[in-house]
């Protein structure tokens, strides 16, 4: 890169990022939770959340993003795998085959009658694994000189 006297001025990009990141993360959670009845789910929810973090990485440098989101992404992927495995093992305690899922209707205070499925917990595992793997790849490539 050519050396210049000018300090880079990313004010417009950084200000737009501050607004857009929240929109992307909220939409990714919407995709994550609506995966049971409409298109969506853990995979594209996780990809979209990591897309929001990548946008932060583009607008700010890597140290700032690590200081505002202090996650160890390898451990996050491991935690996701553990959650997915535990939802499979949990079915063994009820004398049904491995990875058998169930659901029920619960009366929640604000949302009314809601269908809660244990497949969401499996999806949470997928979500964490996708974020962990994507961010590990991108941060590892970004840090090497």
């Amino acid at each position: 890169m050519k050396k210049t006297n000018l300090k880079t001025n990313d004010l417009i990009f950084q200000t737009a990022t501050k607004v857009i990141v929240f929109l992307i993360i909220i939409y990714s959670w919407h995709l994550f939770f609506s995966g049971h009845y409409t298109p969506g789910g853990g995979f594209i929810g996780g990809l979209m959340t990591s897309g929001a973090i990548v946008l932060l990485l583009l607008a700010y440098d890597i140290k700032t993003v690590v200081s505002i989101l202090p996650f160890d992404y390898i451990k996050m992927a491991a935690l996701g795998l553990l959650i997915a495995l535990l939802t499979g093992i949990g079915s063994l305690f009820y004398n049904v085959p491995f990875l058998t899922h169930t659901f029920g209707y619960v009366e929640l205070p604000l949302l009314g009658e809601t269908a809660l499925a244990t497949a969401v917990l499996f999806d949470l595992g997928v979500y964490l694994v996708v974020i962990g793997v994507t961010m590990t790849i991108i941060q590892t490539i970004g840090e090497t000189e």
Partner: protein, 119 residues
Amino acid sequence: MTEISNFIIGFFILLGSILSLVAAIGVVRLPDVYTRNHAASKSATLGVIFILFGLFLYYLLTEHQVNSRVLLGIVFVFITAPVAGHLISRAAYNIGVPLWKGSVQDDLKKARSKKKLMR
């Protein structure tokens, strides 16, 4: 009622697609990066917003549901597309892409050379 709503929806979608076509013609015909970027970011943004608004009206008037994802898409395109145009244009200026021969004014160059003299 449905005839009128069909007419309004069709009007917005047709207007949006015509604006997108105008953007495409502008990208082909304009002389340099900055004017092309001007055409692409402004006209295509408004075109996409009109098409999405027509889609929102379709869901609202024909299917009788408020599709908030389309509204979110309108807000998202409205915020991000001009910023993307700005970033592309500034990157082109910083690596020294020349302006069109007929350009008469370059205030950024003037401001930068003045800043260098002050130092």
